[in-house]
Amino acid sequence: MSATTKSKINDIHELRNIAKSVRLKILHMLTNAGSGHTGGSLSAADVAVAIYFSKMNFNPRDPFWKDRDRFILSKGHAAPLLYSIMAEAGYFPKETLDNLRQIESPLQGHPCCKRLNGVEVSTGSLGQGLSVANGIALGLRLDNNPARVYCIMGDGETQEGQVWEAAMTAAHYRIDNLCAVIDKNGLQIDGPVSKVMNIEPVADKWSAFGWHVIDIDGHNMEQILKALNEAEKIKGKPTMIIANTTKGKGVSFFENKVEYHGITPTRDELSKAVVEINNG
């Protein structure tokens, strides 16, 4: 039970198609559920798809395989994104996506590792994923396990103090089997990040904390793959990919709309959105 069942995909077109399929799943499941986080699930979709399908070793039939690469969704409210990817990867039947947020569902409103195998740790309270990712990376290193750890955070999330504690830890312990991503979509619940609590200069901050920083267009699959490749080669320090993204990406009438942080498409909006995604 140690071989991965998924072969890695490096074809840009194929990855884009998976991202499309993942976005459609996100929209369908959120419309069904009637509540959940649309904007931030769509903004991080391209990066998350690239990480899962072009980089990670995992086996959906053996979710606790000890040599698997690990993915931590620190911005737990993007749970629909994680679930869509897991369905796409074969962790569970696609029909399960209809159970999002239903009573006792494995697909909780925010990811719960005790209800869904393949979720590494429960998240939802922001700012905690990077610390856990560090711990996993240190544990793997103690075992000489070459597996890698990926962690996606939100930009608003980096207002949490714990993120900077973890930033220090990763650099201090020279954790280089870790690649973190900030899904920098520029919006948080109460408005633009710059207005609510400015986090700039983001790249300078992470550099100053001792990280290797790569600033990219978080919807450009070529740039994403290049950054992920670069991260693997960086030794002696952690890598932060700052993915500049658009909240609600892929659906014109959701894009850059603050209000679509926490509301879901209507049936009517869903039909229009599906057309846009398919034509995109």
Partner: protein, 326 residues
């Protein structure tokens, strides 16, 4: 506290041993565990000299992670280490471990049900001179409210060693509360701690004192005094506060005129709270809670502070007599 006088009758062979702080026993046991088991890793938040994890750190630097003054990150990192099969022991002072990092413990330790051992030192009022900011009087309440958490308060060095070995073999979140000051030995040398099993020194027909931590020794002193005055008093060491040993509690409650709880913690939400919750539903007998009465501590030495807050044998005696109207 080492100077506290016991009744001569109460001095057993174990009590003749030099008083020792539970944190000292922790440091020694952790080191032995580390020698025996490669999966043991230790984290501390800049207090390894005080928590005594420094002994482990010196011998196993590659398995020791000083996280700096960053308790929240320490808990998350410990959770991550446990997810790779390690058994992390994360230590700092009780007030910072349980208070500063409570949401981290809730999400990544308890909700995620990770195999993290939280062993905090400097619990309770006997932190002493550092004062109220450093005296954890609410930590048991904070930890006890969390699903999946086991809460243990050892009475002395012997019990601490046994507890540390037991929790290393147990899978799941555990909170162990240790103290700063030296405490007399109260547990028999051959004592073997089991999670959820209380230790019954003796049971009384009139009163039974359910105690934990340093109050076990003080409860024994009180029971001696009461016994001499014809009040048959039992003493139970309820070192596992969650899950409570309900069998022992029920059996002593059934034969007691009054139950006394004694703890170095707020009377709200700790051992006293746990005992009352259980007994009120299962065997409603009169209960009196000895503990910190919904206040903060202050600077002072341990004995002065214990006296100030009524955590003394005299106050237990007084409370029992008043409850029995004697």
């Amino acid at each position: 506290m080492g100077e506290r006088k016991e009744n001569t009758e109460a001095i057993s062979k174990t009590a003749e041993k030099k008083p020792k702080a539970t944190r000292e026993a922790y440091g020694e046991t952790l080191l032995e565990l580390g020698r025996r088991r490669k999966d043991i890793v230790v984290l501390d938040a800049d207090l390894s000299g005080s928590t005594k994890t420094s002994k482990f750190a010196k011998e196993f630097p590659e398995r020791f992670f000083n996280m700096g003054v960053a308790e929240q990150d320490m808990i998350g990192t410990a959770a991550g280490l446990s997810l790779t099969g390690k058994v992390p022991f994360a230590s700092t002072f009780a007030v910072f471990e349980t208070g500063r990092a409570w949401d981290q413990i809730r999400l990544t330790v308890c909700y995620s049900n990770t195999n993290v051992k939280l062993v905090a030192t400097h619990g309770g009022i006997t932190v002493g001179e550092d004062g109220a900011s450093h005296q954890a009087l609410e930590d048991i309440a904070l930890m006890r409210a969390l699903p999946n958490m086991t809460v243990i308060v050892p009475a002395d060095a012997t019990e601490t060693s046994s507890v540390i070995n037991a929790i290393a073999d147990y899978k799941g979140p555990v909170y162990v509360r240790l103290g700063r000051s030296n405490v007399p030995h109260v547990m028999p040398e051959d004592y073997n701690f089991k999670i959820g099993k209380a230790f019954v020194f003796n049971t009384g027909k009139d009163a039974n004192i359910i105690a934990a931590g340093i109050m076990v020794n003080i409860a024994k002193q009180a029971a001696e005094i009461l016994g001499k005055e014809g009040i048959d008093t039992g003493v139970i060491n309820m070192s596992t506060i969650k899950p409570l040993d309900e069998n022992v509690l029920l059996s002593v409650a059934k034969q007691s005129k009054v139950i006394i709880t004694a703890e170095e913690h707020s009377v709200i939400g700790g051992l006293g709270g746990a005992v009352c919750e259980f007994l009120s539903e299962n065997c409603p007998v009169p209960v009196r809670r000895i503990g910190i009465n919904d206040s903060f501590g202050c600077s002072g030495n341990s004995d002065e502070l214990l006296k100030l807050h009524g955590l003394t044998a005299d106050n237990i005696v007084k409370t029992v007599k008043s409850a029995l109207k004697r």
